[in-house]
């Protein structure tokens, strides 16, 4: 084919890819790296992590920068910030402990108290029930709380409002100083914010975080005191993780490519060659991204970032080519000789990355597709385009001087064959015997959150007395009403457990929106106006109440009897709307009511009570256990596919090399390197995550090329010094790139970085160790 046509075709293909990418949304949804769930309950769980109330929580702490900043000033800072943020549309609720429930909630509770209070029963409105209430009120009036009591007794003598506040305000709040929430030691003022946007909406979360920072800067400037702002919460994490990944990925990959380029520049002494090495990888990345766009409709930011690193192999293709050009071999003929090894190497990578396609994590599947298409396209470009760009007068690489140091390196290495083989065999046996023990089964290990941030989050949660909800009861219905009724039935079953101390408490959507039947029953419990007035008069007999003062009560109760029922829309503009939406949700036609349990001392009476309600589809969920089981299931699946991928790689090598022995020679360094890398990680007490698995796949993919080039027969037959130089150069740049990634503060990046850098070094070491003896090689015989 004429060069013109090749370049035109390439240009069109790249333009098409670019055009496609420009119209592809880049998503930042980190939950793509959470498993896709099979069961409805687990799906509910993942949905909650994505968009539930929990995902919208922002925990704010204000800390004095020096001993001199007192709690008085921090409280003042907290109040100034609350004032500013309360008016901010990014937040649906801003709470620093000052004032109780917001005005809107208090108003709502008071107006709808007879529909909301579960204590509204017919017995409450009998003569005896009312008399008991009035006597109780008299005691209140004699007590120091008379100031409060006199305020509401006339309108609410049965005390429904107190009932509701007890019910909805349960839980140990944080301590207060100067009227606002503080940590126990008084060093931090605390706030809880809830964002309008869902947790996975990273753009909105970033804007909300920015709002908080501005409010803080403003308040601090106003107060003129040194203080620090600490933020935590899922959204904050997601934003900072994205920032860190962006920042790390950009900064580290810039440094890495500069260093790698410097290495290439040193080796080839030609800027043009360095530029050429980037062509296959760039084309591959564009093709891979376009494939993801076609396959998934959107591309994840993380896929772009990691995908580029996964395509490190594509940089190697060009390096292999350039190292093999010499006086006798033009670019085209060098490529022809290299081609079989390159294709086999590429295919092994494709088999390895293929495992990710089936891992069940949408994020990993994207990554797999990206890398597979990427390396294929890169190799194609290397084959078709690169030779046409190599200048005829390319300085032939003079490598003879490398022979001596390499020999020095190989001889001592090969003396270590036996111990190394023993290490690998026993290491493998030990790893297999360890089974799952070396794996981090905590789902949170997947989250790209730095350890320090996690610790801060836990500290703030402890300060706020808001521990993670671990046990959740889920009931369902075919309609919202059905689910609410089921929640009420379950609530009745849980009440005795709370009284007996098996659970500290629970929440229920029916507390914020009682079912219509419950509301009607409460309306029916209130007698008609004349009857109620008569009973009230009888009840007040002998008590010192002024006559007529209970008119507000009679009016409110009569109105509640015939009022419209409370609906979801009535809760709008109050914090209860969000609360209700998080506890009552619809998924594919089924309504679920979620009852989070607090302080579960013993699970068995809870599950027994739940069963006894006879509600179909009632599930007691141990959130953490469930999530971890979910993760374990996916990890096992990913591991299985990785093993299948590895087996496929071996079969491929066997077929391509047409020799079991040669396939074994190629596989040995790869297996040795992976086992040793796992051992090193185990010794370093690093628990393996799914990302380590990805990294090991990458080691196998990149390493298969090294192993193929350094394979005994290939070395003996070919120009060994060029192959050695190529591998040293490639592994060198891989170690530079991934070694830098290991320095990242993002756990995901550093896990992949350290594992791949380690693996790349180990593969070369193992290949040299088990390769031909130096005196077998032509290059050394010359000396």
């Amino acid at each position: 084919m004429r060069s013109v046509w090749v370049f035109a075709l390439l240009g069109v293909a790249l333009a098409l890819c670019a055009a496609l990418l420009l119209r592809t949304p880049v998503s930042g949804d980190l939950s793509a790296f959470l498993p896709r769930s099979p069961s409805p309950a687990q799906q509910l769980l993942v949905d909650q992590l994505r968009e539930g109330v929990v995902s919208r929580l922002v925990l704010v702490a204000l800390e004095g920068e020096s001993e001199g900043t007192g709690s008085t000033q921090l409280a003042q800072l907290s109040e100034t910030m609350r004032g500013r943020l309360a008016a901010d549309p990014h937040f649906v609720s801003v709470n620093n402990g000052a004032r109780g429930p917001l005005e809107a909630e208090g108003q709502l509770l008071f107006e709808r108290r007879y529909l909301l209070s579960p204590a509204v029963t017919p017995a409450r409105f009998t003569r005896d029930g009312l008399h008991a209430a009035l006597e109780r009120n008299l005691e209140l009036l004699a007590s120091p709380v008379s100031m409060l009591a006199s305020e509401w007794i006339a309108a609410d003598p049965t005390g429904e409002m107190l009932e509701l506040m007890d019910l909805l305000d349960a839980g140990d709040g944080p301590q207060k100083r100067h009227g606002v929430w503080f940590s126990r030691d008084g060093s931090r003022a605390l706030m809880i914010l809830q964002t309008q946007a869902e947790g996975y909406d990273l753009e909105a979360q970033a804007a909300a975080v920015q709002s908080i920072r501005w409010a803080f800067a403003h308040a601090r400037a106003q107060a003129g005191m040194p203080a620090r702002l600490l933020l935590s919460g899922p959204g904050v994490f997601a934003v900072s993780a994205r920032h860190a990944i962006k920042h790390d990925a950009l900064r580290l990959s810039l440094i890495a490519s500069m260093l790698a380029s410097a290495l290439l520049l040193y080796a080839f002494r030609s800027l043009w060659i360095v530029v050429l090495t980037l062509i296959p990888v760039t084309c591959g990345a564009l093709a891979g991204a376009a494939a993801v766009s076609l396959g998934f409709g959107a591309i994840h930011g993380v896929t772009l970032g990691f995908g580029m690193t996964l395509m490190g192999e594509a940089v190697d293709y060009a390096v292999y080519l350039f190292t093999h050009i010499d006086a006798r071999n033009s670019a085209a003929s060098a490529l022809r000789r290299l081609w079989p090894a390159l294709v086999v190497g590429m295919l092994t990578s494709v088999f390895g990355y293929g495992a990710m396609l089936f891992s069940g994590f949408p994020g990993l599947a994207q990554l797999g597709l990206f890398s597979i298409v990427g390396v294929m396209a890169a190799l194609l470009v290397t084959r078709v385009v690169l030779p046409r760009l190599v200048p005829d007068d390319l300085a032939v690489l003079e490598l003879a001087h490398l022979a001596a140091p390499m020999r020095c390196m190989m001889s001592p290495l090969q003396r270590l064959r036996l111990p190394a083989a023993a290490l690998v065999v026993f290491g493998l046996a030990w790893l297999v015997s360890q089974g799952g023990a070396r794996w981090d089964d905590d789902l949170s290990s997947l989250s790209p959150i730095a350890q320090a941030d996690k610790a801060l989050d836990q500290a703030l949660r402890a300060d706020l007395g808001a521990p993670d909800v671990r046990h959740v009861l889920i009931v369902s219905g075919t309609s919202a009403q059905g689910a609410l009724e089921a929640a009420e039935t379950m609530g009745e079953a849980l009440e005795p457990l709370r009284a007996q101390g098996h659970i500290a408490g629970f929440d229920s959507p029916a507390r914020y929106l009682p079912s219509m039947s419950a509301q009607r029953a409460r309306q029916a419990a209130i007698p008609d106006a004349p009857t109620l007035e008569q009973r009230m008069n009888e009840a007040a007999e002998g008590l010192p109440y002024r006559s007529e003062i209970f008119k507000p009560f009679l009016a409110a109760a009569s109105a509640a009897r015939v009022s419209a029922l409370l609906e979801r829309a009535d809760l709008e503009r109050s914090a209860y709307a969000l609360k209700l939406d998080s506890l009552l949700l619809e998924r594919r036609g089924t309504w679920y009511a979620i009852l989070p349990l607090r302080g579960v001392a013993d699970v068995s009476p809870v599950s027994y009570a739940a069963q006894r309600t006879g509600l179909p589809g009632a599930v007691l969920l141990d959130v953490k256990q469930e999530a971890d089981a979910l993760y374990r299931g996916y990890r096992d699946r990913a591991l299985l596919f990785a093993l299948i991928g590895a087996a496929a790689m071996f079969v491929l090598l066997w077929g391509a090399l047409r020799s079991l022995r040669r396939a074994f020679d190629v596989a040995l360094p790869i297996v040795g390197a992976i086992v040793t890398a796992c051992l090193v990680l185990a010794v370093a007490e690093v628990r393996l995550t799914l990302f380590h698995l990805v990294a090991l796949l990458l080691v196998a993919g990149v390493g298969s090329n090294y192993a193929l080039l350094l394979e005994r027969r290939a070395l003996l037959a070919g120009d060994s010094v060029r192959s050695l130089a190529a591998v040293v150069l490639c592994s060198g740049s891989t170690v530079i790139a991934f070694g830098l990634l290991a320095l990242s503060s993002t756990p995901v990046l550093s896990a992949i970085g350290s594992t791949v850098a380690l693996g790349a070094v180990l593969i070369v070491v193992f290949a040299l160790m088990f390769g031909p003896r130096p005196d077998e090689l032509v290059m050394f015989r010359k000396h």
Binding site: P101, P144, H178
Partner: protein, 209 residues
């Protein structure tokens, strides 16, 4: 119009405590001649005398005039103050009810109902203002007291009346004024006027407890 019970409770407790503290019925014996010799009678010299007590015991009768009730409610019991920060108001009729303030904590106990609740004084800034003014009184710190209340002194050393009017609007919404009156170095009566019209008069009885 709705206030949290805890806040209002705390507020009330504070008001009551304040009454309890300012009960130096045996002050005359304790105040040294140095104070007397200073001559000019005023808020400063009164507070200075209050600061000298270590312990005060008294009996009280409180008459509550409430809008809701046709006749006044009468509550009686004992009061105890111990330096530096313990206060106890123990009602015996009509119901046994114990109110105790120690350090930063307020405890309400109603034995018949098995109710016992504690809350931190720092739970509420309004309360904090109250308590601080209380401590300022005990410490004889007129400057701090004046930060929270507008203080007016009526009468003379033999028959005086200390009028405290809260400066904070949040406080003023609940309490209109607190009048403490006494003769010489003895507090005789504390009258709390609520902003909504309720009123309570607590008479301190000599030779109590």
């Amino acid at each position: 119009m709705l206030r949290r019970p805890a806040a209002s409770l705390a507020l009330l407790l504070a008001v009551q405590c304040m009454g309890a503290v300012l009960v130096p019925h045996s002050l005359a014996e304790q105040v040294g001649p140095a104070v007397q010799a200073r001559g000019a009678w005023g808020v400063d010299s009164l507070l200075l005398q209050f600061a000298q007590r270590r312990e005060v015991r008294a009996q009280f009768v409180e008459v509550k005039h409430l809008r809701l009730l046709a006749r006044p409610l009468v509550v009686s019991g004992t009061l105890l103050y111990q330096a530096p920060d313990l206060l106890e108001k123990r009602a015996t009729t009509p119901n046994v009810e114990i109110l105790r303030v120690e350090g930063d904590w307020v405890t309400v106990e109603i034995p018949a109902r098995r109710i016992r609740r504690s809350l931190s004084l720092q739970d509420n800034p309004v309360l904090w203002v109250f308590v601080e003014s209380l401590r300022a009184t005990l410490a004889g710190d007129a400057a701090t007291l004046a930060r929270f209340h507008r203080i007016t002194m009526h009468g003379d050393a033999r028959a005086w009346r200390l009028e405290l009017a809260p400066i904070e609007p949040a406080m003023r919404a609940v309490i209109a004024s607190i009048d403490i009156s006494g003769r010489g170095h003895t507090i005789r009566e504390i009258e709390v006027r609520e902003s909504r019209g309720d009123r309570s008069v607590m008479t301190i009885l000599e030779g109590g407890g």
